[in-house]
């Protein structure tokens, strides 16, 4: 493949140089944009068209806002996972972190008597949010310790972490929902800023920060080098293990934050909070152009991946597809989206 491409590129370069010395740069830059990052944009437009045809409700602002609101918690997990995948790692335990982090915070904060859920009441109510975030950070850091210090297989280690945290969640809550969450926990999930849920704005801002960091910060750029070839990154003076560790911890932090938004949104910590999400997370990241082997993809692509999945569910609901068929269609659409983006971009997905 490279053998066939190489000679022509060299020639193109020569002729381009001779032809237009001035206008060459913008043109060549345009040629080298990775279109795979945008391959889902037409898919989203087609989905919106279908939605418009299927139901007049689709294009109302209420409906669209509810789609993005439902995307917001999933998208935070995708953001964390995307960063980790670009680094060439993976973390399955994110889907348990979104549940266990609020649970541990509630457990430490809620009083032992009075509510349906008996906590320990060790810490004041205001510390619920910092505690929750801390739990996420610790989970990510422990994953990092397992992968980077003990050098165990990341897939299996985080699979174990996923199962263990899920069990901890059920053990602490005795399999019941926690409904009496403190007011501070509810605020972000249910308030509205500028006519849209606060969670949506927060997600957009976090994606923008993440995208900017990957594009313009040296430590952000380093993620691509680490995922693309860790040895080359090390030889170039990048502290590979340290950066990876931080990214894993940030992934856990984002999952815990998603837990706060989700809990606030529904006013309770569900016993199955996050259960089974990790498949959606991976699907959204990969159809959005993030490589499972690391070193490739953008957060914009990951975000379009989340929106695509959520739009499909929404359009199907509006189209009157029975909810019992949702799971089947969801899986089917993941496969279709994968194939479409594979051929739209012309690149292999690894």
């Amino acid at each position: 493949m490279t053998g066939t491409v190489r000679p022509s590129t060299a020639d193109d370069f020569d002729t381009a140089l001779k032809g237009s010395p001035g206008g060459n740069t913008a043109l060549s830059r345009l040629k080298l944009i990775r279109w795979s990052d945008f391959s889902l944009v037409p898919v989203i437009l087609v989905l919106m068209l279908i939605g418009f045809i299927v139901s007049p409700v689709f294009l109302t602002s209420d409906n669209l806002i509810s789609v993005v609101q439902q995307s917001s918690e999933l998208s935070l997990l995708v953001l964390g996972q995307a960063l980790i995948l670009i680094c060439g790692r993976m973390d399955l335990s994110l889907e348990s972190t979104i549940g266990i982090a609020p649970v541990v915070a509630m457990w430490l904060v809620l009083p032992p008597d009075g509510g349906r859920f008996a906590g320990l009441g060790l810490l004041p109510a205001w510390s619920a949010i910092p505690l929750c975030l801390l739990v996420g950070l610790v989970v990510g850091a422990v994953n990092g310790f397992l992968m980077l210090k003990l050098r165990v297989n990341g897939f299996i280690a985080t699979l174990g972490m996923l199962t263990m945290l899920r069990g901890l969640h059920i053990g602490i809550t005795e399999g019941k929902s926690i409904t009496d969450v403190p007011e501070s926990f509810r605020y972000l999930g249910k308030s509205e800023w500028f006519g849209a849920p606060a969670a949506v704005w927060i997600c957009l801002v976090l994606f923008a920060i993440g995208g900017a960091a990957l594009a313009w910060l040296r430590h952000g750029r380093a993620l691509y080098a680490i995922g693309g070839n860790p040895e080359a990154a090390r030889a170039a003076g990048i502290r590979v293990d340290r950066v990876t560790w931080i990214v894993l911890a940030v992934g856990g932090l984002l999952a815990a934050f998603a837990g706060i938004l989700y809990t606030g949104h529904y006013g309770a910590v569900a016993a199955t909070q996050g259960d089974g999400w990790i498949f959606q997370v991976f699907a959204a990241a990969v159809i959005g152009g993030i490589s499972l082997k690391g070193g490739r993809g953008t957060l914009f692509g990951a975000l379009t991946g989340v929106l695509t999945l959520q739009l499909v569910v929404n359009v199907m609901t509006l189209g009157g597809v029975p909810a019992l068929w949702n799971q089947f269609l969801n899986g089917a659409i993941i496969i279709v989206a994968l194939v479409v983006s594979r051929f739209a971009s012309g690149e292999r997905q690894d």
Partner: protein
Amino acid sequence: MEAQAPPPAVQAEGVVKRFGPTVALDGVKLTVRPGESHALVGRNGAGKSTLVGVLTGLHKADAGTVTFGGEPAPAFGDTAAWQSRVACVYQKSMVVPDLTVAENLFLNRFDENARWISWGRLRRRAEQLLSAYGVQVDPNTRARDLAVEQRQFVEIARALSFGARLIVLDEPTAQLDARGIARLFDRLRELQSQGVAFLFISHHLQEVYELCTAVTVYRDARHVLTAPVAEVAKEDLVAAMTGEKTAGATAWHAAGDAASDPAAEPVLSAERLSLPGRFEPLDLQVRPGEVLGLAGAAASGNTAVGEVLAGMRKAGGGTVRVRGRAVRAGSVPDALAAGIGYIPEDRHDQGLVPERSVAENATLTVTDQLGPWGTVLPSRTREFARGMIDSLDIKTQGPEQPVSGLSGGNQQKVVVARALARDPSVLVAVRPTAGVDVKSKDSLLGVVRRVADAGNAAVVVSDELDDLRVCDRVLALFHGRVVATFDSGWTDGELVAAMEGVGERE
């Protein structure tokens, strides 16, 4: 050519191959006789790989004829028929590392008649096959435990067992040390005497002279020259490959009156530096303007010295200083900060992030200098990369092109750009010209020389005599010890002898 001479092992006439608008082969010809070692040389992009593709049935020629032993080539896509005529041993291993040698030899054709695999019989067949070609490898060894040349023997034996009498060797010596090369060549000569023909593709002209009887040169997709090796002088061969008269490999040979002043304060100094199991304590001093060579074969520990200097490995003991400043052991960032630039041994392993652009790869070591507050500004990155592309003459579509799309020599220049990006006081280059063509080789070594001439120091770690010719001083390592020191006037014989750990050769 007498009338009763056997038909050539392979004969290609007027082969044309286009990839889109690019003509990769333009009416080339090649004839290899039975029992001959035929070298095919040319710069990167000359069309060698494409021809190999055509000869092994991977590419379909657009025009021209190919015959094997006088018979026309099999139909395109008839893999089994191609396998029985020709095989290629690639640089990259084509064996399954976790299977045994026996399994690899008979992969997918374990037993034609039986339903179940008889492991005992498989092993006996493998033993017979290996001993028939004088290959001393235990068929029960896992392929991953083989030495590189043993792995190549196994691949050759497998090809011969299919009935192929023409073996293409694509850069077979790239990962071998001198001893391995000698073993490989002995085996090849033996097989030649049994009538096996070899097409030998190498950047190493010296090896062409050692092994081959005839040589064919391609340049820019065209056939330039075919002649018996004995009748072509090395300079003429280089001239045929490059299409110009070069001053030869000695253009930048260190002059006796090197600028280095023995009294000057050393730029790089190492004291009692050691890495247990790799090399014993050694002292190094490199003065401004000096290029120091660390010569040695694969297991000599010279590469480990380079890696320790660059911070890739943590030294077992001893200190490294750059202009008096101590460098923290095993820390690449500290080595970079101290002014050590590093060209790693294998650009695919440690040098490049293949998916990323030329600009990103070239600026990987200077991301802290490309914008305020930890930012990396794309405009400054491009500007920096353009400077590097110009000064090192990197052939690329532009700074944004993914580095995987460049030719080997240009990829290596990107690695060099990365090492030079911080204006290093000390440049540590490990086998800087591995797998690049003659012209790139010259310019890469010229870069090393220029770094030193600017008042800095350079360390070249290599077993290639051409690489070591830029050095003002060469230390030869053998089994982790410095066994000899040479000033620039060394002869090939003495240096090779020292690297081989023998007192005197020839």
